[in-house]
Symmetry: C2
Subunit: 281 residues, 2 copies
Protein backbone atom coordinates (compact mmCIF):
# COMPACT_ATOMS: atom_id res chain seq x y z
CA UNK A 1 0.00 0.00 0.00
CA UNK A 2 0.94 3.63 -0.47
CA UNK A 3 -0.27 5.11 2.84
CA UNK A 4 -2.06 8.44 3.26
CA UNK A 5 -0.01 9.07 6.38
CA UNK A 6 3.30 7.28 6.76
CA UNK A 7 4.87 7.22 10.20
CA UNK A 8 8.60 6.79 10.74
CA UNK A 9 10.08 6.15 14.15
CA UNK A 10 13.82 6.82 13.98
CA UNK A 11 15.15 9.31 11.42
CA UNK A 12 18.67 8.01 10.91
CA UNK A 13 20.30 6.66 7.75
CA UNK A 14 17.52 4.15 7.04
CA UNK A 15 14.47 5.91 8.51
CA UNK A 16 15.49 9.24 7.00
CA UNK A 17 16.00 7.69 3.56
CA UNK A 18 12.65 5.86 3.64
CA UNK A 19 10.84 9.03 4.75
CA UNK A 20 12.50 11.04 2.02
CA UNK A 21 11.64 8.49 -0.68
CA UNK A 22 8.02 8.31 0.48
CA UNK A 23 7.68 12.10 0.43
CA UNK A 24 9.08 12.20 -3.09
CA UNK A 25 6.85 9.28 -4.16
CA UNK A 26 3.77 11.31 -3.34
CA UNK A 27 2.77 10.04 0.11
CA UNK A 28 0.71 13.06 1.29
CA UNK A 29 1.86 13.08 4.91
CA UNK A 30 5.09 11.64 6.32
CA UNK A 31 5.31 12.14 10.07
CA UNK A 32 8.33 11.20 12.11
CA UNK A 33 9.81 10.97 15.54
CA UNK A 34 13.43 10.66 16.55
CA UNK A 35 15.02 10.49 19.96
CA UNK A 36 17.79 12.55 18.38
CA UNK A 37 16.65 16.18 18.12
CA UNK A 38 19.41 16.79 15.63
CA UNK A 39 18.13 14.07 13.27
CA UNK A 40 14.52 15.26 13.69
CA UNK A 41 15.37 18.87 12.87
CA UNK A 42 17.56 17.86 9.93
CA UNK A 43 14.78 15.65 8.51
CA UNK A 44 12.25 18.51 8.60
CA UNK A 45 14.70 21.01 7.14
CA UNK A 46 15.55 18.65 4.29
CA UNK A 47 11.88 18.08 3.55
CA UNK A 48 12.22 14.35 4.18
CA UNK A 49 9.23 14.45 6.56
CA UNK A 50 6.20 16.71 6.42
CA UNK A 51 5.84 16.83 10.19
CA UNK A 52 7.29 15.76 13.53
CA UNK A 53 5.44 14.06 16.41
CA UNK A 54 6.19 14.28 20.13
CA UNK A 55 6.83 10.53 20.56
CA UNK A 56 6.57 7.12 18.92
CA UNK A 57 3.02 6.54 20.25
CA UNK A 58 1.85 9.72 18.54
CA UNK A 59 3.40 8.52 15.28
CA UNK A 60 1.43 5.26 15.46
CA UNK A 61 -1.71 7.22 16.31
CA UNK A 62 -1.38 9.47 13.28
CA UNK A 63 -0.24 6.90 10.70
CA UNK A 64 -1.88 4.19 8.64
CA UNK A 65 1.54 2.58 8.07
CA UNK A 66 4.46 2.87 10.45
CA UNK A 67 8.13 1.96 9.95
CA UNK A 68 10.24 1.35 13.05
CA UNK A 69 13.68 2.40 11.83
CA UNK A 70 15.39 1.92 15.16
CA UNK A 71 18.18 -0.32 16.54
CA UNK A 72 17.28 -3.92 17.47
CA UNK A 73 16.63 -3.54 21.22
CA UNK A 74 14.55 -0.36 20.71
CA UNK A 75 12.55 -2.06 17.98
CA UNK A 76 11.64 -5.01 20.20
CA UNK A 77 10.58 -2.60 22.95
CA UNK A 78 8.52 -0.39 20.61
CA UNK A 79 6.70 -3.43 19.24
CA UNK A 80 5.78 -4.52 22.74
CA UNK A 81 4.62 -1.08 23.80
CA UNK A 82 2.83 -0.03 20.64
CA UNK A 83 1.69 -3.42 19.32
CA UNK A 84 -1.72 -3.22 21.04
CA UNK A 85 -2.49 0.21 19.50
CA UNK A 86 -1.45 -1.02 16.04
CA UNK A 87 -3.66 -4.08 16.31
CA UNK A 88 -6.68 -2.16 17.64
CA UNK A 89 -6.47 0.68 15.12
CA UNK A 90 -5.38 -1.56 12.23
CA UNK A 91 -2.15 0.35 11.61
CA UNK A 92 0.20 -1.56 9.30
CA UNK A 93 3.76 -1.77 10.41
CA UNK A 94 7.25 -3.03 9.71
CA UNK A 95 10.80 -2.66 11.00
CA UNK A 96 14.25 -2.54 9.40
CA UNK A 97 16.44 -4.72 11.62
CA UNK A 98 18.47 -7.73 10.54
CA UNK A 99 17.18 -9.84 13.47
CA UNK A 100 13.97 -11.26 12.09
CA UNK A 101 13.40 -14.26 14.39
CA UNK A 102 13.34 -12.16 17.58
CA UNK A 103 11.25 -9.39 16.05
CA UNK A 104 8.69 -11.85 14.68
CA UNK A 105 8.54 -13.64 18.02
CA UNK A 106 7.45 -10.38 19.71
CA UNK A 107 5.05 -9.61 16.87
CA UNK A 108 3.52 -13.06 17.23
CA UNK A 109 3.14 -12.68 21.00
CA UNK A 110 1.28 -9.43 20.26
CA UNK A 111 -0.92 -11.19 17.65
CA UNK A 112 0.12 -8.67 15.01
CA UNK A 113 -0.09 -11.07 12.04
CA UNK A 114 -2.78 -9.04 10.28
CA UNK A 115 -0.91 -5.73 10.43
CA UNK A 116 2.81 -6.41 10.84
CA UNK A 117 5.48 -8.02 8.66
CA UNK A 118 9.18 -7.65 9.40
CA UNK A 119 11.59 -6.10 6.90
CA UNK A 120 15.34 -6.04 6.44
CA UNK A 121 16.55 -3.64 3.76
CA UNK A 122 20.12 -4.27 2.55
CA UNK A 123 21.25 -0.69 2.89
CA UNK A 124 25.00 -0.95 2.67
CA UNK A 125 26.01 2.20 4.47
CA UNK A 126 27.85 2.16 7.77
CA UNK A 127 27.21 5.77 8.53
CA UNK A 128 24.56 6.68 11.03
CA UNK A 129 22.24 9.60 11.62
CA UNK A 130 20.14 11.66 9.23
CA UNK A 131 23.28 13.09 7.60
CA UNK A 132 23.72 9.62 6.05
CA UNK A 133 20.12 9.59 4.72
CA UNK A 134 19.59 10.11 0.99
CA UNK A 135 16.52 9.90 -1.21
CA UNK A 136 16.81 6.88 -3.55
CA UNK A 137 19.40 5.29 -1.28
CA UNK A 138 17.34 2.09 -1.20
CA UNK A 139 16.08 2.27 -4.78
CA UNK A 140 16.78 -1.02 -6.53
CA UNK A 141 18.10 -2.75 -3.42
CA UNK A 142 16.78 -5.96 -1.89
CA UNK A 143 14.43 -5.74 1.11
CA UNK A 144 13.67 -9.03 2.85
CA UNK A 145 10.08 -9.20 4.12
CA UNK A 146 9.06 -11.74 6.78
CA UNK A 147 5.30 -12.14 7.39
CA UNK A 148 3.91 -14.15 10.29
CA UNK A 149 1.86 -17.33 9.81
CA UNK A 150 -1.56 -16.14 8.67
CA UNK A 151 -0.05 -12.80 7.79
CA UNK A 152 0.25 -12.97 4.02
CA UNK A 153 -2.11 -9.99 3.56
CA UNK A 154 0.03 -7.79 5.80
CA UNK A 155 3.10 -9.16 4.01
CA UNK A 156 1.68 -8.06 0.65
CA UNK A 157 0.90 -4.55 1.95
CA UNK A 158 4.43 -4.14 3.28
CA UNK A 159 5.97 -5.51 0.07
CA UNK A 160 3.85 -3.11 -1.91
CA UNK A 161 4.98 -0.24 0.31
CA UNK A 162 8.66 -1.01 -0.28
CA UNK A 163 8.26 -1.22 -4.01
CA UNK A 164 5.91 1.75 -4.52
CA UNK A 165 7.13 4.22 -1.91
CA UNK A 166 10.85 3.35 -1.96
CA UNK A 167 11.50 1.63 -5.29
CA UNK A 168 13.16 -1.32 -3.55
CA UNK A 169 12.85 -5.03 -4.45
CA UNK A 170 10.94 -6.85 -1.69
CA UNK A 171 11.73 -10.55 -1.28
CA UNK A 172 9.50 -12.59 1.03
CA UNK A 173 11.36 -15.09 3.17
CA UNK A 174 10.82 -17.12 6.32
CA UNK A 175 12.34 -15.46 9.42
CA UNK A 176 14.36 -18.56 10.37
CA UNK A 177 15.81 -18.90 6.90
CA UNK A 178 16.53 -15.17 6.82
CA UNK A 179 18.53 -15.25 10.04
CA UNK A 180 20.49 -18.34 8.99
CA UNK A 181 21.32 -16.60 5.72
CA UNK A 182 22.37 -13.19 7.09
CA UNK A 183 24.63 -14.88 9.64
CA UNK A 184 26.74 -15.67 6.55
CA UNK A 185 26.04 -12.79 4.20
CA UNK A 186 26.14 -9.96 6.75
CA UNK A 187 27.11 -10.89 10.28
CA UNK A 188 30.14 -13.12 9.71
CA UNK A 189 31.65 -10.52 7.34
CA UNK A 190 30.98 -7.84 9.97
CA UNK A 191 32.62 -9.86 12.75
CA UNK A 192 35.65 -10.53 10.56
CA UNK A 193 36.00 -6.84 9.64
CA UNK A 194 35.60 -5.79 13.28
CA UNK A 195 38.08 -8.31 14.69
CA UNK A 196 40.63 -7.50 11.98
CA UNK A 197 40.29 -3.82 12.91
CA UNK A 198 40.62 -4.76 16.58
CA UNK A 199 43.81 -6.73 15.92
CA UNK A 200 45.31 -3.86 13.89
CA UNK A 201 44.29 -1.36 16.58
CA UNK A 202 45.77 -3.30 19.48
CA UNK A 203 48.75 -5.09 17.99
CA UNK A 204 49.56 -3.52 14.62
CA UNK A 205 52.27 -0.91 14.00
CA UNK A 206 51.28 2.73 14.60
CA UNK A 207 51.78 5.65 12.25
CA UNK A 208 52.09 3.56 9.09
CA UNK A 209 50.29 3.65 5.76
CA UNK A 210 47.60 1.01 5.36
CA UNK A 211 46.93 -0.44 1.94
CA UNK A 212 43.57 -0.45 0.20
CA UNK A 213 42.85 -4.01 1.32
CA UNK A 214 43.33 -3.16 5.01
CA UNK A 215 40.99 -0.18 4.73
CA UNK A 216 38.33 -2.00 2.71
CA UNK A 217 38.44 -5.18 4.76
CA UNK A 218 37.88 -3.18 7.97
CA UNK A 219 35.45 -0.51 6.77
CA UNK A 220 32.41 -2.09 8.43
CA UNK A 221 34.19 -1.93 11.79
CA UNK A 222 33.29 1.74 12.18
CA UNK A 223 29.56 0.90 12.44
CA UNK A 224 27.95 1.27 15.84
CA UNK A 225 29.33 -1.35 18.28
CA UNK A 226 26.13 -0.96 20.34
CA UNK A 227 23.76 -1.84 17.49
CA UNK A 228 26.00 -4.63 16.22
CA UNK A 229 26.43 -6.20 19.64
CA UNK A 230 22.62 -6.44 19.81
CA UNK A 231 22.44 -7.97 16.33
CA UNK A 232 25.17 -10.53 17.01
CA UNK A 233 23.73 -11.54 20.38
CA UNK A 234 20.24 -11.87 18.85
CA UNK A 235 21.54 -14.29 16.21
CA UNK A 236 24.45 -15.70 18.19
CA UNK A 237 23.96 -19.42 17.48
CA UNK A 238 23.98 -18.90 13.74
CA UNK A 239 26.89 -16.46 13.97
CA UNK A 240 28.90 -18.91 16.09
CA UNK A 241 28.28 -21.63 13.53
CA UNK A 242 29.51 -19.41 10.68
CA UNK A 243 32.51 -18.34 12.79
CA UNK A 244 33.39 -21.98 13.40
CA UNK A 245 33.65 -22.57 9.64
CA UNK A 246 35.64 -19.37 9.17
CA UNK A 247 38.01 -20.46 11.95
CA UNK A 248 38.55 -23.73 10.09
CA UNK A 249 39.66 -21.85 6.97
CA UNK A 250 42.04 -19.67 8.96
CA UNK A 251 43.48 -22.72 10.72
CA UNK A 252 44.06 -24.51 7.40
CA UNK A 253 45.99 -21.54 6.03
CA UNK A 254 47.92 -21.13 9.27
CA UNK A 255 48.90 -24.79 9.16
CA UNK A 256 50.08 -24.50 5.55
CA UNK A 257 52.24 -21.48 6.48
CA UNK A 258 53.56 -23.27 9.51
CA UNK A 259 54.60 -26.21 7.30
CA UNK A 260 56.22 -23.81 4.80
CA UNK A 261 54.04 -25.51 2.18
CA UNK A 262 53.64 -23.24 -0.85
CA UNK A 263 51.25 -25.51 -2.77
CA UNK A 264 48.99 -25.87 0.26
CA UNK A 265 48.91 -22.10 0.84
CA UNK A 266 47.99 -21.56 -2.81
CA UNK A 267 45.23 -24.17 -2.66
CA UNK A 268 43.79 -22.61 0.46
CA UNK A 269 43.61 -19.22 -1.33
CA UNK A 270 42.02 -20.67 -4.46
CA UNK A 271 38.51 -21.47 -3.23
CA UNK A 272 37.87 -17.90 -2.15
CA UNK A 273 39.46 -16.48 -5.31
CA UNK A 274 37.16 -18.42 -7.61
CA UNK A 275 34.11 -17.46 -5.57
CA UNK A 276 34.98 -13.76 -5.29
CA UNK A 277 35.84 -13.31 -8.99
CA UNK A 278 32.24 -14.02 -9.94
CA UNK A 279 31.31 -10.69 -8.31
CA UNK A 280 34.01 -8.75 -10.17
CA UNK A 281 32.42 -9.17 -13.57
Amino acid sequence: MLPQTLGIVGLGAVGGSVAWDATQSGVPRVVGYSRSTRDAVAAVKAGAVTGLMRDAAAVVEAADLVVFATPPADTLELLETLGPAMRERGVFGTDVTSIKVQVMRVAEAQALQEVFAGSHPLLGTHETGFTAARPSQLRGSVVYVTPLAGGSDAGREIEDFWSRAVGAHPVTIDADRHDAMVAWTGQLPHVVAATLAGALAKHGPAGVTHGRTALEATRAASSSPEAWAEILIANRRQVLEALRHFGGEVDALREALDEDNLAKVRRSLEAGAGWRRRFDE
Copy 2:
Protein backbone atom coordinates in the same frame (compact mmCIF):
# COMPACT_ATOMS: atom_id res chain seq x y z
CA MET B 1 67.38 9.73 -11.77
CA LEU B 2 65.22 10.14 -14.83
CA PRO B 3 66.80 7.51 -17.13
CA GLN B 4 67.47 7.95 -20.84
CA THR B 5 66.30 4.38 -21.39
CA LEU B 6 63.99 2.81 -18.84
CA GLY B 7 63.59 -0.95 -18.95
CA ILE B 8 60.51 -2.69 -17.58
CA VAL B 9 60.36 -6.45 -17.14
CA GLY B 10 56.71 -7.44 -16.68
CA LEU B 11 54.00 -5.29 -18.25
CA GLY B 12 51.08 -6.03 -15.93
CA ALA B 13 49.13 -3.67 -13.66
CA VAL B 14 52.25 -2.30 -11.95
CA GLY B 15 54.85 -2.56 -14.72
CA GLY B 16 52.41 -1.22 -17.31
CA SER B 17 51.49 1.75 -15.12
CA VAL B 18 55.13 2.61 -14.35
CA ALA B 19 56.05 2.39 -18.03
CA TRP B 20 53.12 4.58 -19.00
CA ASP B 21 53.96 7.21 -16.37
CA ALA B 22 57.59 7.28 -17.41
CA THR B 23 56.68 7.72 -21.07
CA GLN B 24 54.38 10.59 -20.18
CA SER B 25 57.02 12.12 -17.87
CA GLY B 26 59.38 12.48 -20.82
CA VAL B 27 61.67 9.46 -20.46
CA PRO B 28 62.92 9.25 -24.09
CA ARG B 29 62.92 5.46 -24.42
CA VAL B 30 60.87 2.98 -22.39
CA VAL B 31 61.58 -0.59 -23.43
CA GLY B 32 59.74 -3.56 -22.04
CA TYR B 33 59.47 -7.30 -22.00
CA SER B 34 56.58 -9.45 -20.87
CA ARG B 35 56.18 -13.19 -20.84
CA SER B 36 52.56 -12.44 -21.74
CA THR B 37 52.36 -11.58 -25.44
CA ARG B 38 48.95 -10.07 -24.82
CA ASP B 39 50.31 -7.63 -22.21
CA ALA B 40 53.29 -6.76 -24.41
CA VAL B 41 51.14 -6.02 -27.45
CA ALA B 42 48.65 -4.03 -25.37
CA ALA B 43 51.46 -1.95 -23.82
CA VAL B 44 52.84 -1.01 -27.24
CA LYS B 45 49.42 -0.23 -28.68
CA ALA B 46 48.59 2.00 -25.71
CA GLY B 47 51.88 3.87 -26.10
CA ALA B 48 52.95 2.88 -22.58
CA VAL B 49 56.29 1.62 -23.91
CA THR B 50 58.26 2.91 -26.87
CA GLY B 51 59.64 -0.53 -27.73
CA LEU B 52 59.64 -4.23 -26.91
CA MET B 53 62.64 -6.45 -26.29
CA ARG B 54 62.99 -10.20 -26.92
CA ASP B 55 63.73 -11.09 -23.28
CA ALA B 56 64.59 -9.71 -19.85
CA ALA B 57 68.34 -9.86 -20.54
CA ALA B 58 67.90 -7.64 -23.58
CA VAL B 59 65.95 -5.14 -21.44
CA VAL B 60 68.83 -4.91 -18.95
CA GLU B 61 71.29 -4.55 -21.83
CA ALA B 62 69.39 -1.63 -23.34
CA ALA B 63 68.45 0.24 -20.16
CA ASP B 64 70.19 2.52 -17.70
CA LEU B 65 67.46 1.80 -15.11
CA VAL B 66 65.42 -1.38 -14.99
CA VAL B 67 62.26 -2.16 -13.02
CA PHE B 68 61.44 -5.81 -12.37
CA ALA B 69 57.65 -5.69 -12.18
CA THR B 70 57.21 -9.44 -11.81
CA PRO B 71 55.79 -11.80 -9.17
CA PRO B 72 58.03 -12.64 -6.17
CA ALA B 73 59.57 -15.94 -7.36
CA ASP B 74 60.28 -14.56 -10.85
CA THR B 75 61.85 -11.46 -9.35
CA LEU B 76 64.26 -13.48 -7.21
CA GLU B 77 65.22 -15.53 -10.24
CA LEU B 78 65.71 -12.50 -12.51
CA LEU B 79 67.94 -10.84 -9.91
CA GLU B 80 70.13 -13.92 -9.74
CA THR B 81 70.37 -14.29 -13.50
CA LEU B 82 70.74 -10.64 -14.46
CA GLY B 83 72.48 -9.29 -11.35
CA PRO B 84 75.99 -9.78 -12.79
CA ALA B 85 75.14 -7.83 -15.97
CA MET B 86 73.60 -4.99 -13.93
CA ARG B 87 76.66 -4.75 -11.71
CA GLU B 88 79.12 -4.90 -14.60
CA ARG B 89 77.31 -2.38 -16.78
CA GLY B 90 76.22 -0.16 -13.86
CA VAL B 91 72.52 -0.47 -14.66
CA PHE B 92 70.37 0.79 -11.81
CA GLY B 93 67.49 -1.45 -10.80
CA THR B 94 64.58 -2.01 -8.51
CA ASP B 95 61.64 -4.36 -8.07
CA VAL B 96 58.01 -3.95 -6.95
CA THR B 97 57.36 -6.92 -4.65
CA SER B 98 56.19 -6.76 -1.06
CA ILE B 99 58.87 -9.26 0.07
CA LYS B 100 61.84 -7.05 0.72
CA VAL B 101 63.96 -9.26 3.02
CA GLN B 102 64.25 -12.08 0.47
CA VAL B 103 64.83 -9.75 -2.46
CA MET B 104 67.51 -7.82 -0.61
CA ARG B 105 69.20 -11.05 0.46
CA VAL B 106 69.60 -12.03 -3.21
CA ALA B 107 70.71 -8.52 -4.14
CA GLU B 108 73.31 -8.62 -1.37
CA ALA B 109 74.61 -12.02 -2.48
CA GLN B 110 75.04 -10.48 -5.95
CA ALA B 111 76.85 -7.44 -4.46
CA LEU B 112 74.35 -5.10 -6.10
CA GLN B 113 74.46 -2.41 -3.36
CA GLU B 114 75.73 0.26 -5.75
CA VAL B 115 73.03 -0.24 -8.37
CA PHE B 116 70.00 -1.88 -6.76
CA ALA B 117 67.47 -0.82 -4.11
CA GLY B 118 64.23 -2.69 -3.54
CA SER B 119 60.84 -1.00 -3.92
CA HIS B 120 57.30 -1.76 -2.85
CA PRO B 121 54.67 0.55 -4.32
CA LEU B 122 51.32 0.47 -2.51
CA LEU B 123 49.26 0.04 -5.65
CA GLY B 124 45.88 -0.94 -4.32
CA THR B 125 44.46 -2.74 -7.31
CA HIS B 126 43.80 -6.46 -7.31
CA GLU B 127 43.40 -6.71 -11.04
CA THR B 128 46.21 -8.16 -13.05
CA GLY B 129 47.58 -7.76 -16.57
CA PHE B 130 48.11 -4.67 -18.68
CA THR B 131 44.34 -4.04 -18.87
CA ALA B 132 44.62 -2.97 -15.21
CA ALA B 133 47.50 -0.56 -15.95
CA ARG B 134 46.74 3.17 -15.97
CA PRO B 135 48.93 6.23 -16.24
CA SER B 136 48.97 8.11 -12.92
CA GLN B 137 47.80 5.02 -11.07
CA LEU B 138 50.72 5.37 -8.67
CA ARG B 139 50.75 9.17 -8.57
CA GLY B 140 50.67 10.34 -4.96
CA SER B 141 50.93 6.86 -3.49
CA VAL B 142 53.61 5.62 -1.10
CA VAL B 143 56.50 3.55 -2.47
CA TYR B 144 58.76 1.94 0.13
CA VAL B 145 62.41 1.88 -0.94
CA THR B 146 64.91 -0.48 0.72
CA PRO B 147 68.60 0.13 -0.06
CA LEU B 148 71.33 -2.30 0.96
CA ALA B 149 74.06 -1.42 3.45
CA GLY B 150 76.43 0.87 1.56
CA GLY B 151 73.73 1.45 -1.02
CA SER B 152 72.45 4.89 -0.12
CA ASP B 153 73.50 6.31 -3.51
CA ALA B 154 71.50 3.66 -5.37
CA GLY B 155 68.64 4.26 -2.92
CA ARG B 156 68.62 7.96 -3.79
CA GLU B 157 68.59 7.26 -7.52
CA ILE B 158 65.65 4.88 -7.15
CA GLU B 159 63.76 7.31 -4.89
CA ASP B 160 64.36 10.04 -7.40
CA PHE B 161 63.05 7.79 -10.18
CA TRP B 162 59.81 7.09 -8.32
CA SER B 163 59.16 10.72 -7.60
CA ARG B 164 60.19 12.19 -10.95
CA ALA B 165 59.03 9.51 -13.40
CA VAL B 166 55.94 8.30 -11.54
CA GLY B 167 54.96 11.10 -9.15
CA ALA B 168 54.90 8.69 -6.19
CA HIS B 169 56.12 9.37 -2.65
CA PRO B 170 59.22 7.27 -1.92
CA VAL B 171 59.81 6.36 1.72
CA THR B 172 63.13 4.73 2.62
CA ILE B 173 62.86 1.93 5.14
CA ASP B 174 64.91 -1.01 6.38
CA ALA B 175 63.89 -4.30 4.69
CA ASP B 176 63.32 -6.08 8.03
CA ARG B 177 61.14 -3.30 9.35
CA HIS B 178 59.27 -3.18 6.04
CA ASP B 179 58.42 -6.87 6.13
CA ALA B 180 57.31 -6.73 9.77
CA MET B 181 55.07 -3.79 8.92
CA VAL B 182 53.43 -5.15 5.76
CA ALA B 183 52.65 -8.42 7.55
CA TRP B 184 50.13 -6.24 9.40
CA THR B 185 49.18 -3.58 6.88
CA GLY B 186 48.89 -5.79 3.82
CA GLN B 187 49.32 -9.51 4.36
CA LEU B 188 47.12 -10.11 7.41
CA PRO B 189 44.24 -8.16 5.77
CA HIS B 190 44.75 -10.22 2.62
CA VAL B 191 44.70 -13.52 4.51
CA VAL B 192 41.54 -12.48 6.36
CA ALA B 193 39.79 -11.44 3.13
CA ALA B 194 40.84 -14.67 1.42
CA THR B 195 39.79 -16.99 4.25
CA LEU B 196 36.46 -15.18 4.66
CA ALA B 197 35.86 -15.67 0.92
CA GLY B 198 36.89 -19.32 1.29
CA ALA B 199 34.44 -19.86 4.16
CA LEU B 200 31.61 -18.21 2.19
CA ALA B 201 32.49 -20.25 -0.91
CA LYS B 202 32.59 -23.59 0.86
CA HIS B 203 30.04 -23.26 3.64
CA GLY B 204 27.84 -20.22 2.95
CA PRO B 205 24.38 -20.32 1.35
CA ALA B 206 24.27 -20.29 -2.46
CA GLY B 207 22.23 -18.01 -4.69
CA VAL B 208 21.73 -15.28 -2.09
CA THR B 209 22.39 -11.55 -2.11
CA HIS B 210 25.57 -10.53 -0.32
CA GLY B 211 25.67 -7.19 1.44
CA ARG B 212 28.22 -4.46 0.80
CA THR B 213 30.33 -5.55 3.77
CA ALA B 214 30.65 -9.13 2.49
CA LEU B 215 31.77 -7.91 -0.94
CA GLU B 216 34.18 -5.30 0.38
CA ALA B 217 35.67 -7.50 3.05
CA THR B 218 36.44 -10.21 0.48
CA ARG B 219 37.46 -8.10 -2.52
CA ALA B 220 41.17 -8.81 -2.15
CA ALA B 221 40.47 -12.55 -2.38
CA SER B 222 40.22 -12.37 -6.16
CA SER B 223 43.92 -11.48 -6.45
CA SER B 224 46.24 -14.13 -7.83
CA PRO B 225 46.52 -17.08 -5.37
CA GLU B 226 49.87 -17.97 -7.00
CA ALA B 227 51.48 -14.58 -6.34
CA TRP B 228 49.99 -14.31 -2.85
CA ALA B 229 51.08 -17.79 -1.83
CA GLU B 230 54.65 -16.75 -2.72
CA ILE B 231 54.32 -13.52 -0.73
CA LEU B 232 52.85 -15.23 2.34
CA ILE B 233 55.45 -18.01 2.32
CA ALA B 234 58.27 -15.49 1.91
CA ASN B 235 57.12 -13.59 5.02
CA ARG B 236 55.50 -16.49 6.83
CA ARG B 237 56.93 -15.94 10.32
CA GLN B 238 55.68 -12.36 10.47
CA VAL B 239 52.32 -13.34 8.94
CA LEU B 240 51.88 -16.17 11.45
CA GLU B 241 52.60 -13.75 14.29
CA ALA B 242 49.97 -11.28 13.02
CA LEU B 243 47.51 -14.16 12.49
CA ARG B 244 48.05 -15.28 16.06
CA HIS B 245 46.94 -11.85 17.33
CA PHE B 246 43.98 -11.81 14.94
CA GLY B 247 42.97 -15.27 16.17
CA GLY B 248 43.01 -13.92 19.72
CA GLU B 249 40.54 -11.17 18.78
CA VAL B 250 38.23 -13.67 17.05
CA ASP B 251 38.41 -16.00 20.05
CA ALA B 252 37.51 -13.19 22.46
CA LEU B 253 34.42 -12.28 20.44
CA ARG B 254 33.47 -15.93 20.03
CA GLU B 255 33.73 -16.42 23.78
CA ALA B 256 31.55 -13.38 24.45
CA LEU B 257 28.88 -14.70 22.05
CA ASP B 258 29.12 -18.13 23.61
CA GLU B 259 28.50 -16.59 27.05
CA ASP B 260 25.57 -14.56 25.66
CA ASN B 261 27.35 -11.51 27.09
CA LEU B 262 26.13 -8.34 25.34
CA ALA B 263 28.48 -5.94 27.14
CA LYS B 264 31.49 -8.12 26.34
CA VAL B 265 30.52 -8.37 22.65
CA ARG B 266 30.16 -4.59 22.51
CA ARG B 267 33.54 -4.05 24.16
CA SER B 268 35.19 -6.42 21.76
CA LEU B 269 33.78 -4.41 18.82
CA GLU B 270 34.81 -1.05 20.26
CA ALA B 271 38.59 -1.15 19.83
CA GLY B 272 38.31 -1.71 16.09
CA ALA B 273 35.53 0.86 15.71
CA GLY B 274 37.59 3.64 17.29
CA TRP B 275 40.62 2.75 15.20
CA ARG B 276 38.71 2.49 11.90
CA ARG B 277 36.77 5.74 12.32
CA ARG B 278 39.99 7.72 12.15
CA PHE B 279 40.23 6.72 8.48
CA ASP B 280 36.64 7.76 7.71
CA GLU B 281 37.28 11.45 8.22
